[in-house]
């Protein structure tokens, strides 16, 4: 991978602890259960950048899908990525947690910093990046062999957490954060797939939250849901942004307008415009953006 390596990629404002977090987490660290509100392990002042994307280009085999993207994603805010199908939204999202490289013959160039840490640095274990950057997919996918409770704790269990009380505590917390606890608390041992579509998607959100990521990527999380389930997910996003940085890919412009603070408009693999959501939807500086958000194409 042609990632330019700089000796000191730490930004002046980046906290001292972040470098440590990129090292493989020992089970003990994971088990330590530092809750975001009472542990200063991941201080993310609201003015901080979660992602700093620098000259990012991506390919599938010889076909270029992302062209020289530069953008900074604000921590503890919701950033929406909009654009017509095939414009590279999802590919961009999957570059942020190193899922892009899993596709055969996929390649990328450029640099992505996550709270100052080089995501594609030479000694970085992608599984550690993925623990820091959780992901929710378009199609809800709770593991079919597991109960509701097991689905939530699977990320912890398979990363070495054995302590039952910690698992129990994290499970309840994640389900509460995902606004699912009250609906499932009496039948946690039912299969995860027994829930309704909207509930399954919130279960997947809880599963991602249980490993305590810093960022949550959402790839069209509500596109397969009915309006009421969609509304619940959107409400949830508003609650979650107090603790998490959220990047959401969506086809639905109303959704982007309703629930995001910043919006990036992608077209044909290029970042056309990136600004505060209000500005993008009321007074875009680019003609293409204006045409897209007003529904004239796409």
């Amino acid at each position: 991978m042609n990632v330019p390596v700089t000796v000191n990629n730490k930004k002046p404002g980046a906290p001292e602890t972040t470098r440590k977090q990129m090292e493989p987490l020992s089970p003990a660290t994971v088990a330590g259960a530092p809750a975001p509100e009472n542990a200063p392990a991941r201080p993310t002042p609201s003015s901080e950048m979660a992602f700093d994307v620098n000259r990012l280009s991506g390919w599938f085999s010889g076909h270029q899908v992302l062209f020289d993207l530069n953008l900074q994603i604000q921590a503890k805010a919701v950033t929406a990525i909009i654009g017509p199908s095939g414009c590279g939204k999802s590919t961009f999202l999957r570059c942020l947690n190193r899922m892009h490289e899993l596709v055969r013959a996929a390649r990328l160039e450029g640099k992505i910093l996550l709270f100052g840490d080089d995501v594609y640095g030479p000694n970085i274990d992608p599984t550690v990046v993925r623990r820091r950057v959780g992901m929710v997919f378009q199609k809800s996918n709770p593991f079919p062999t597991m109960t509701i409770a097991e689905n939530v704790t699977v990320g912890l269990r398979l990363n070495g957490v054995r302590n039952r009380s910690i698992l129990q505590e994290r499970m309840e917390k994640a389900l509460r954060m995902a606004a699912l606890w009250d609906e499932v608390k009496d039948h946690l041992d039912r299969p995860g797939t027994s829930l309704s579509g909207g509930q399954q998607q919130r279960l997947c959100i809880a599963r991602a939250l249980a490993v305590q990521p810093e960022v949550l990527l959402m790839d069209e999380p509500a596109s397969a849901l009915d309006p009421i389930a969609t509304m619940k997910i959107e409400e949830l996003i508003q609650v979650l942004k107090k603790d998490y940085t959220i990047v959401i890919v969506t086809h639905n412009m109303q959704q982007a307008a309703r629930c995001s603070d910043y919006t990036a408009f992608f077209y044909m693999g290029r970042l056309i415009e990136f600004d505060k959501t209000e500005k993008i939807f009321t007074n875009p500086s680019n003609k293409q953006t204006e045409d897209y958000v007003t529904g004239r194409f796409g």
Binding site: N97, T127, R130, G155, L158, C204, R207
Partner: protein, 286 residues
Amino acid sequence: MTVSPTYHTWRMVKSRIMSCVAFLFAMLAIAPLGLILFYLIRAGAGSLDLSFFTHLPKPVGEVGGGMANAIVGTLVLLGLAAMIGVPTGVLGGIYLSEYGTDNVNWWIRFGADILNGVPSIVWGIVAYTLVVIPMKGFSAYAGGVALGFMMIPLVIRTTEEVLLLVPNGYREAALALGISRWKITIQIIGKTALKGIVTGVLLALARVAGETAPLLFTAFGNRFWTHSLSDPIAALPLQIFTYAISPYDDWHRQAWAGALVLMLLTFTINIGVRALTRGKLAGVPK
């Protein structure tokens, strides 16, 4: 456009005739199964009693005796075969579905398909060369190796197929949680496809349970109990073969009974497989 009533009737008649013909041929296809079962039960059930399952074969001329050693021998051989065929086949299938690159996979699949078509007597020769000659004697080990080798390509292909049925979304979801690859493969993908993998293994066992040729000069057969796996061991198909070509009526009756037991064994395995896969296909959700 309307169709004239006579034309309509003629079409109905044609449709009826075709359904009947198709049904007839379907019946013809499964008729051998019915005939075999019927004939085996008629010829074998009479000689099937408790002592058939509990006694050793009697010497020629003495009435009675059973095939207890052959029944146990077949189970022992299947156990040995499973110890070779199951880990190799399942891990090979996992490699094909989860890890391999297209190029390597093509060769492995090609190889497995060729191996599937290798005549069973050839597996006997392979085991003879690899085990019997170095050990200087026929043994249960040699029979187990021959049957185990036969199982490998069968298990590889079925394991691969059921693993590929597991939707990719689960792999991605697990990867996005920062879980390592091998844990995902075993704890999530493997568990999801477990029923299908077990089904494949059982079918492979049922398939090799009735093999005679690979055992002729490996397990060799034994008229008594085998106390060490490095000694020759009895097996149902071998015993049936020996008894069937003998000149004694009593042995012929015993051979029929043995064939019935062997048939019931594979029948039971197949019914077990049906029970496992009832409902959802191999336990994999759509």
